[in-house]
């Protein structure tokens, strides 16, 4: 493997890093989440960690906070190797994280929330409330928040709660602060306040790891960048002198390779038309049509409203307005049962909760939506059930010990094959695949992709929701990009370029459009 510029060598300018990840590798069954990555965090500097969904960012955060133990490589604190065997070790080393969703307790006071688990004790081993309130006041003061440490959390607004979450992260003696998409749920004003906070922390000499999808804020506050792709380091350096283009290029990287066996299927008549689909909070004014034999990609960042919209097509989320037509006839779908009847099926992203019933055998999972086909007058015909399950699971090359194995005992990729088999057994006309290859191994991925092509060739219409650009570009005939609940662009032909997709998804103006 080519050695990509390790940032210490690429950039000898500043002080020694506080914390270094040195060739860290982390493998999960079937997936190499981190493959020899390096990361340096410098005191008083903000390092932005950039990468597509699934690039390995969360795994890095979990490694840095002692939740995951790496299989290879080492973590260096001030140049000395330290084991981060438990979250406590990481906290003792001064690493703290502000998560996307820090768990807070409504019925406890601000001070109790900040110091939960490590409250200052009095001589008798009881909580020293006064010291706790004083310390909380100091921390809140240091980040410019004016919140009474004694009020209950439930009496605070969203913005103040967020500050409490930050105060909690800072309540340990922090040298390294990890911010994992901290602005995802904030308004513009709160984001500005957060930037000020970041500046304060920098001035205090803390090393900050800033994870974000948003280019504008990366350019606003980061001093350095590190880009991951598919669990590997692809680039690192100082923000000065780097252009947006370069970062996008690194993120997207390799040309769309031959992994994707998209055979051009014959695209036929319109099957599904969606007009003006809207929801009070999740999505607005979605319009598109889907043709026979077509694979239509839906790209967007996490939280763009793709899954919520897809779930409204099968009657889980209720749209506030809009209509769908199937073969030109208006159909109202109020439940998944109705969707199955109409020929629309959905392979959800959350396999464990929505896709499969993990504690039930493979064959029962496969036949669940098509029990009417394997029964007579409501009575189960076991032989027919097993035959149907066998037909579709073997077609998908499922690897399992037996058909009565519980789905929960299978690997992620094989679980996904069971879920896809289950929906194909209903003989649908439109199949919606929501992140179908997320967290599954390369082999299963290829099987899913191959199968997708085969289905389209047989005249099935496929909607592919994916955050993986190579997958979207490799498989789709046409791509719709969603941003903040709306359709940001509909692209086909020569417009199907990685950069174009990312630009529309993050909201950077595209050449040719007014800036």
């Amino acid at each position: 493997m080519e050695d990509h510029g390790h940032s210490t060598t690429a950039d000898p300018a500043s002080a020694a890093p506080v914390l270094t990840l040195d060739k860290i590798t982390k493998t999960f069954p079937g997936v190499k989440a981190l493959d020899g990555v390096c990361l340096d965090l410098y005191p008083g500097q903000v390092t932005a960690l950039i990468g597509e969904n699934g690039a390995g960012k969360s795994t890095v955060v979990k490694t840095l906070t002692g939740i995951y133990q790496p299989d290879g490589g080492q973590i260096l604190l001030d140049g000395h190797p330290v084991p981060f065997a438990t979250p406590q070790d990481a906290a003792d080393a001064g690493v703290t994280a502000i998560h996307q969703e820090t768990v807070l307790f409504d019925e406890l006071t601000v001070a109790e929330n900040v110091f939960i688990g490590h409250a200052p004790k009095s001589r008798f081993g009881l909580i020293n409330t006064r010291a706790m309130h004083d310390r909380t006041g100091e921390i809140l003061g240091s980040i410019g928040a004016q919140i009474d440490p004694g009020v209950k959390l439930k009496d605070l607004g969203i913005a103040s709660r967020h500050l409490v979450a930050i105060a909690r992260a800072l309540s340990v003696e922090a040298r390294v602060v990890i911010m994992d998409e901290p602005t995802a749920a904030l308004s513009q004003k709160e984001i500005e306040e957060l930037y000020e906070l970041v500046d304060t922390l920098k001035a205090q000499g803390k090393a900050i790891l800033f994870i974000s999808h948003k280019f504008d804020e990366i350019f606003r506050i980061a001093d350095r960048y590190t880009v991951f792709r598919d669990g590997q380091l692809v680039g690192a350096g100082q923000m000065i002198g780097v252009a947006e283009e370069d970062l996008v290029q690194m993120m997207v990287g390799r040309s769309v390779d031959q992994l994707f066996p998209k055979s051009r299927a014959e695209i036929g008549e319109e099957i599904l038309t969606v007009a003006g689909y809207s929801h009070p909070t999740e999505f607005e004014d979605i319009n598109f049509s889907l043709r026979r034999g077509e694979i239509l990609g839906f790209y967007g960042l996490v939280g763009a409203g793709r899954s919520e919209f897809m779930q409204s097509l099968i009657g889980i989320t209720k749209p506030s307005k809009g209509a769908i037509r199937i073969d030109g006839d208006v159909r109202v779908i109020r439940s998944p049962a109705a969707a199955i009847k109409a020929g629309i099926v959905y392979v959800p992203e959350d396999r464990g909760k929505q896709g499969a019933i993990l504690d039930m055998p493979i064959f029962q999972n496969v036949t669940l939506p098509s029990l009417h086909m394997t029964s007579r007058n409501g009575f189960i015909q076991l032989a027919e059930e097993l035959a149907l399950a066998r037909q579709y699971t073997e077609r998908l090359d499922l690897r399992a010990a037996s058909l009565d194995t519980n789905v929960g005992a299978l690997s992620g990729g094989n679980q996904q094959k069971v879920v896809i088999a289950k929906w194909l057994a209903t003989k649908p006309r439109v199949i919606i695949l929501d992140e179908p290859t997320k967290g599954i191994d390369i082999g299963s991925k290829a099987a899913v992709h191959g199968f997708m092509s085969e289905l389209a060739a047989q005249g099935l219409s496929v909607i592919l929701v994916s955050s993986e650009i190579p997958e979207i570009l490799g498989m789709s005939d046409r791509v719709i990009v969603m941003r903040e609940g709306r359709i940001a662009a509909e692209l086909d032909g020569d417009n199907l370029q990685p950069e174009t997709l990312v630009r529309h998804a993050v909201g950077i103006s595209v050449e040719g459009e007014a800036a």
Partner: protein, 330 residues
């Protein structure tokens, strides 16, 4: 993990033979316990091994078991109905009122069953339409239904049911085989087939294991739950008919505490209280176990309070045993 990776492409239907699976099941363990208790009983009392005495023993569980079958399905689906004993009180009171108005046996039975159905439907609506937790809803209706019964009866009682009405609780179909026992047996088969052989039963398991997954798979989760609450209410109504017929009177305190005995029977039968697994054969054997224990202790003149201690210990013992066994081995 590695097992799944190296398996052949031809996937066998099953690895263990169904017989081997049955031998290792909860039901076999429970059956062994039942046989043990049977032997202990016959050694402890000379009156135990008598056809008429054994027939009497069945009345200890037949009414509870009728409810327990429906309750088993309800608990497997992840819900519970704690109001069943109060439904019996209200259904029995309804029959009493109907009798006072001069109704004959068919109308009495209809009154009991209908009341049960309405009560079950009320529980079901609150749970499925409003999305309330069934344990809270049915604790509420437990007080509500019996409360109505108290308002109607005060500290009085309905007596003087028509003589042909006594057939349900006191009649015999053939020799020592009572009407109640036949109802129990028929319902055991009915619920066994419903749970284990039909699409409806499969949906019940799917909902109990993962209600969201079941919904996404096109199962009408609320409709299935509604049907289960209706069935449980109907069974409580049927138990009210049998119990009222057997006692020959209605008091508002009738069947007090029976809901816990029903739940005990279901759990003892191997149904997971958190939903998702369990079987009707298990509940059938559990009914026999509980009946035999109660009857055996009765023959030995053990007072009721002490009996409930035995039932409690039995429940904890049978449930803890497999857990202790696996802890000891692992």
């Amino acid at each position: 993990m590695s097992l799944t990776e190296t398996a052949p492409r031809q996937i066998p239907d099953r690895l263990r033979s169904p017989l081997a699976a049955k031998l290792k099941s909860w039901e076999s363990l429970l059956l062994a316990v039942a046989i043990g208790i049977f032997i202990l009983n016959s050694l402890a009392s000379p009156y135990f091994l008598n056809a008429w005495n054994l027939s009497d023993a069945t009345f200890n569980f037949t009414e509870k078991a009728m409810i327990a079958f429906a309750m088993a399905l309800l608990i497997i689906s992840g819900e519970i109905d704690l109001s069943v004993a109060s439904i019996i009180a209200l259904a029995s009171t309804a029959m009493g009122v109907a009798m006072e108005m001069g109704a004959g046996t068919p109308v009495l039975v209809l009154a009991g069953l209908t009341t049960g159905l309405i009560c079950g439907g009320f529980n079901g609506l609150l749970v499925t339409r409003l999305g309330l937790p069934s344990i809270v809803v049915t604790i509420g209706t437990m007080s509500l239904f019996r409360g109505i019964s108290y308002i109607i009866l005060g500290d009085g009682a309905f007596r003087g049911y028509p003589s042909d009405f006594s057939w349900f609780g006191q009649g015999y179909v053939f020799w020592v085989i009572s009407v109640e026992f036949v109802i129990f047996a028929v319902l055991a088969v009915f619920y066994g087939v419903l749970l284990h052989k039909t699409n409806f039963g499969r949906s019940v398991y799917a909902i109990g294991n993962n209600a969201t997954g079941a919904l996404f798979s096109g199962i009408r989760v609320d409709r299935v739950k509604m049907i289960l609450f209706l069935l449980t209410g109907l069974m409580a109504g049927l138990a009210a008919v049998c119990l009222t017929s057997r006692l020959g009177s209605t008091r508002p305190s009738i069947a007090t505490g029976m809901e816990l005995e029903v739940v005990t029977m279901v759990v003892l039968g191997g149904v997971n209280i958190l939903g998702g697994s369990g079987s009707i054969p298990g509940v059938v054997i559990a009914a026999f176990v509980m009946g035999l224990v109660t009857f055996g202790l009765g023959l030995l003149n053990v007072p009721g309070i002490v009996m409930s201690i035995f039932i409690g210990l039995l429940l904890i013992g049978v449930i803890a045993l497999p857990r202790l066994w696996s802890m000891w081995r692992g």
